[in-house]
Symmetry: C2
């Protein structure tokens, strides 16, 4: 069986997308399976570039890399959906919701406080 | 005077950072001045890559590019500050604030509504 980062002989989703050999220590292999991985990696590659993401992952602890891949994939997909604002559109929308909150006060402040849990 | 995208003879901040000739139709020139531009562009280059950002800008209307550069710069700086979560950390924090809002109701709902503005 050929050596690959997935341990199955198949290249990981990122290497499959990049049409390259998947090394046994491939930084992408734990996060991009051979089946769904290529589609997930496509957005990341288009927005950030494989090399930039590889460097970024190699500079953070292994136990943090899964979360990093999730947030990078989210940002990449958001930027493809909305090339001008990307996920910052989500931040603007949430900031608007929070700013409206200034006109609100807790429901439990209406009574005398005895029924507050 | 040499031709450059800034129209001043100096390369724009992006081309200065990339140490390349700044063409008269440089896509970065309107958004990265020769002085502060290189520092601003450094984060974008590190996170997204000059080539990816150039392609992205060329695919959106000119009147939207300034906003796109602002949001890309924001995402890049956030990813450098927090390599695991990037600006998604901001989204999580805002989502928490919004979810707390469910326990709140408008201050004007306390009375009989006659004093509501």
């Amino acid at each position: 069986m050929a050596s690959s980062g997935t341990g199955t002989g198949s290249p990981c989703g990122a290497c499959k997308f990049l049409r390259r050999k998947c090394a046994s220590d491939c930084v992408f292999a734990p996060y991009f399976c051979s089946e769904q991985g290529p589609a997930r990696f496509a957005a990341i590659h288009k927005v950030f570039g494989a090399s930039n993401v590889s460097k970024l992952l190699l500079h953070i602890p292994v136990h943090d890399r899964c979360e990093a891949v999730v947030t990078i994939a989210y940002e990449a997909q958001a930027r493809i959906r909305d090339p001008v604002y990307g996920c910052v559109a989500h931040i603007f929308a949430l900031q608007q919701q929070v700013s409206k909150k200034k006109h609100f006060k807790p429901v439990w402040s209406e009574g005398n406080g005895r029924d507050r849990k």
